[in-house]
């Protein structure tokens, strides 16, 4: 089965001729992404690979609405985001996207459960009993029910990353962006974290876009997108790599 077959499902995101430059209007202006065309369907589990400096993180930030694109079009969950202002982008980000960062970026002042519930707290200023139950359930599913009231400082790197995954899923975001989620974990923890993401992908239909350096993990994704020098390399040799 190839990725092409996934076009039967509606796309969660579409990038068309997307370009991104830094330091626009200055002598050191540099274009990092040179016209990206990319479509990811709902429920896909996609790896984004490429050498350092190829623009992976920039692409992920643009997709994550953390940085504006310079030109082109970006349709996220059926909505073009090119013309949205900061408040609308923030709302869109909160409703559509979950993030898992390399250095697990939990808030050290809050417990694991509170970190998971943070998106709800941001949205409504408090969390309901059902949201709390969902948070605890997510922690159980990542195997950390016992650690719910511990602060991130008391958890290992792998555990923190599992909390981060639970957080990314706390509001049923349809698309989770993961920037090297296993980057600083040992092989065993990396496998665990990866397996969890795969499990949520299969059980809940959450779409994942994972930046990774690890070819072993990339090979276990539905599809691999390779970024080289700010452009997507035609997928001939990579698509259809099935685990």
């Amino acid at each position: 089965m190839t990725a092409v077959a996934d076009f039967a499902r509606p796309p969660i995101l579409e990038l068309r001729a997307l370009r991104k430059s830094y330091n626009i209007g200055t002598p050191i202006e540099a274009e990092v992404l040179h016209g990206i065309d990319l479509t990811i369907s709902r429920g896909e589990f996609v790896a984004l690979i490429g050498p350092s400096g190829s623009g992976k993180s920039t692409l992920l930030n643009v997709i994550g609405l953390l940085e504006p694109m310079t030109s082109g079009d970006y349709i996220l969950a059926g909505q073009s985001v090119a013309a949205l202002d900061d408040a609308a982008l923030t709302l869109c980000r909160g409703n559509t996207l979950g993030f898992v960062f390399q250095f697990h970026h939990l808030l050290p002042a809050f417990t694991a459960l509170e970190n998971v519930l943070m998106p709800s707290l941001i949205r409504s200023g408090t969390f309901s009993a059902s949201e709390r139950a969902r948070g605890l359930e997510l922690l159980s599913r990542v195997g950390l029910r016992e650690a719910a009231n511990k602060k991130p400082g008391q958890l290992s790197g792998g555990m923190q990353q599992r909390v981060a995954i639970a957080r990314a899923l706390a509001r049923n975001s349809p698309l989770v962006l993961a920037d090297e989620p296993t980057g600083n974990l040992d092989t065993h923890s990396a496998d665990e974290v990866f397996a969890l993401m795969r499990q949520f992908n299969l059980e809940e239909g959450t779409t994942f876009l994972i930046v990774t350096h690890d070819p072993r993990l990339a090979a276990r994704c539905d599809r691999i997108v390779e970024l080289v020098d700010g452009q997507i390399r035609r997928p001939a040799s990579w698509t259809g790599t099935d685990s």
């Binding site: 953390l66 408040a87 980000r93 970026h105 050290p108 408090t126």
Partner: protein, 407 residues
């Protein structure tokens, strides 16, 4: 709609996380607030005390006779005539129609009491000794409402029945008289009369204790040769600092010569004003220093928390929510700091009352920290905290989440 709950929760956690920083800044606010509150209460007490002492023996508003002027029969425009106009010597005269004026004053807003006075110069004589005095004829009831004479009696009783007089401590000493003994009081013409000392008072000023002699209004009228007349009307007001305005209004309406304590104590008043201005400056600068302290700690906190701010933004927190988080921290610091500061001020006041005592072992004067002042200080400190947090909060909001996370 995002509520304040998020900002409050995150602000409290951020403050608790940066324990030492938070403690430092709260102590800073507390000291600032404490000193400002203490100084405010001290100055209020001092000024209240000064005014009380000054006005303890004075009427707030005094109606006087209109000065007599010499009216030249030649017009001033006629420059060919050399002339010199001498001011007239002022006789002791009665205020015209003073009963009507009394009624008028009593119906004026802000005036609480008014009483007639017949006052003039005289001599108190006992045997060889004679002292020049200021003879004051009063109606005790009315006068007491204005000057609280009864409280100031230190010997005998307060009464001004016919043939009785009340004199001050110093005069009693000078003349060598005691209670029940008699003195003769003489005034300008040939008038003189014999009085029994019924009460001795202490007005809090040697000068007044030496000069003031109270007799009944009728006695004074006959001694001063103004039968049925009065030389002044004394009045007290409820709003002390409205006295000038009340006096001016009365003056404009009636045409009488009317003066308030604010004119007769202009120097005192300007001293009090200068004091108030100095206190204001101290308060202002303390507020600025405290605000700078809060702002600098929060600026550092924004830098330290860049990553967290980035994560919160990535998870859907708006710029305004991030602004709120830091404004809230400013408010919390201001509020907690001011509560501690008010307690600190109470301690300082307690120390002052315990250790700053006069020769008689009594506190120099009483300062009380009123809850209104405490509340006002707390509200102002909280607002200052929010204002101080404005710049750091804006920085936090402007932070680019992508950059913040990458760090």
């Amino acid at each position: 709609m995002p509520t304040i709950g998020f900002a409050l929760t995150v602000a409290v956690r951020f403050l608790r996380e940066g324990r030492f920083q938070s403690l430092l800044i709260i102590v800073g606010v507390a000291v600032g607030v404490g000193v400002v509150t203490y100084i405010s209460a001290l100055i209020d007490g001092l000024q209240g005390n000064t005014i009380r002492r000054t006005l303890g023996t004075q009427a707030h508003i005094v109606v006087k006779q209109i000065e007599e002027r010499a009216v030249p029969s030649l017009r001033a425009a006629d420059s060919n005539i050399a002339r010199e106009i001498q001011p007239r010597a002022q006789r002791t005269r009665s205020i015209d129609n003073w009963r009507a004026m009394m009624a008028e004053m009593q119906s004026t807003p802000n005036v609480v009491a008014a009483t007639p006075i017949a006052a003039g110069a005289g001599l108190a004589v006992r045997g060889e000794a004679s002292r020049s005095i200021s003879l004051v004829g009063i109606e005790l009831e009315g006068y007491d409402r204005i000057v609280a004479l009864r409280e100031k009696v230190v010997g005998g009783i307060a009464r001004v029945a016919p043939g009785e007089a009340m004199i001050g401590l110093q005069l009693a000493q000078d003349l060598g008289v005691g209670l029940g003994e008699r003195i003769v009081i003489r005034t300008g013409g040939e008038a003189s009369d014999n009085y029994k000392i019924i009460g001795i008072f202490d007005l809090g000023s040697r000068e007044l204790n030496r000069r003031q002699v109270y007799v009944s209004l009728k006695s004074a009228q006959s001694l001063l040769n103004i039968p049925g007349g009065v030389t002044n009307i004394y009045a007290s007001v409820s709003d002390l600092f409205g006295a000038r305005e009340t006096a001016q209004r009365l003056k404009a309406r009636t045409g009488y010569e009317i003066e308030s304590w604010m004119e007769s104590n202009a120097q005192l008043l300007s001293a009090l004003n200068a004091q108030s201005i100095s206190t204001g400056i101290i308060r202002g600068f303390t507020a600025i220093v405290v605000m700078l302290g809060i702002a600098s700690v929060l600026v550092v906190s924004v830098v330290q928390k860049r990553k967290e701010i980035g994560i919160l933004r990535a998870m859907g927190a708006t710029r305004w929510q991030m602004t709120q988080v830091f404004l809230m921290q400013g408010a919390i610091v201001g509020l907690i700091g001011s509560v501690l500061g008010v307690l600190f001020a109470h301690l300082l006041i307690l120390l002052f009352m315990t250790f700053a005592r006069g020769g008689d072992g009594q506190p120099l004067f009483v300062i009380a920290l009123q809850w209104q002042l405490s509340l006002k200080v707390a509200v102002i400190a909280t607002i200052c905290g929010v204002l101080a947090a404005a710049t750091p909060a804006r920085r936090a909001a402007q932070l680019d989440p992508a950059q913040a996370i990458r760090l």
